[in-house]
Symmetry: C2
Subunit: 155 residues, 2 copies
Amino acid sequence: MDHDAVRWLDEDQQWAWRRFLEGTSRFFEALGDAHDEGLPVTLGEYHLLVQLSEAPERALRMSALADFLALSRSRLTHTVDRMEKRGLVTREPVPGDRRGVRCVMTDAGYDALVAAAPGHVTAVRRLLVDVLDADEMTTLGRAMSKVAHAAKGAE
Amino acid sequence: MDHDAVRWLDEDQQWAWRRFLEGTSRFFEALGDAHDEGLPVTLGEYHLLVQLSEAPERALRMSALADFLALSRSRLTHTVDRMEKRGLVTREPVPGDRRGVRCVMTDAGYDALVAAAPGHVTAVRRLLVDVLDADEMTTLGRAMSKVAHAAKGAE
DNA sequence: CCAAGATAGTTGAGCCCTCAACTATCGCGG
DNA sequence: CCGCGATAGTTGAGGGCTCAACTATCTTGG
């Protein structure tokens, strides 16, 4: 790539980009810590359980879960392995497609979700929602929605 | 934590929070991919080299680097180990504090930074900067700056 | 109806990160 | 000026993630 042809970032862009980098890094570290200190599931496991809790019959096939959570299939397989061992989810065949696997939330998984939710939401408020005013939160949502779309198109 | 006392997120907050989650996840995955496919250093190594390039004598002590990059000391030690083996940085004693270690960028490190910069900036534009309008970018920067501060206070 | 490519998911090796324990040095209160 | 808590950085074991290879099943064009 030609160095002279690159459109470098101007000062404002550079500033915003670096705040984004630092902010996301520190935010996810702190949120992860909140889960590790006192909640029964990690942040990633929590998001997985949330997706299942909102699905019909509290079950989704692996590929759908991977897509919703933006995880690689391999990573999801490993994560579900661990959660299955702890009794939070089970695996079942998908009716009508013998390649497929349905991941189903158990009652213990639901209990873990319910137990983790207050601490999780409290941390998300403390670290993000309550730190921003409503306009900033809305703009953040809209902006990141665009970003997600751009990144998805680039896959 | 009492379930009934929790201030849950309203619908708009929930929406924005989920867009933020998905957006950051997909963004960093795509940016990491851009580095893995064709650039001589990973995203993390790139950020480390950027910090060094802006420091006097292209050197910083480990603790300062860890702080700027929001990395644990241990992680930084391991990362610098690997980069040192590849000749991108070297370690030197800090004059006046025999506990300290200065991490110094080599010429090869500088070359790697220069080689990676165009691809990096192009990807950041494609995935973030050019996707947002100027107002959104500014708000994003200000918002994440607040978030970084909140997370830092919580350490 | 079948061959070839696409899709679903798993596997295991290797790499990177985390965590706790450790060494070494600094600096301050008494 | 000494003892002790704080600070700087490293180490290695353990665990999670990535990547490529693999099996199994589905689907589609001819």
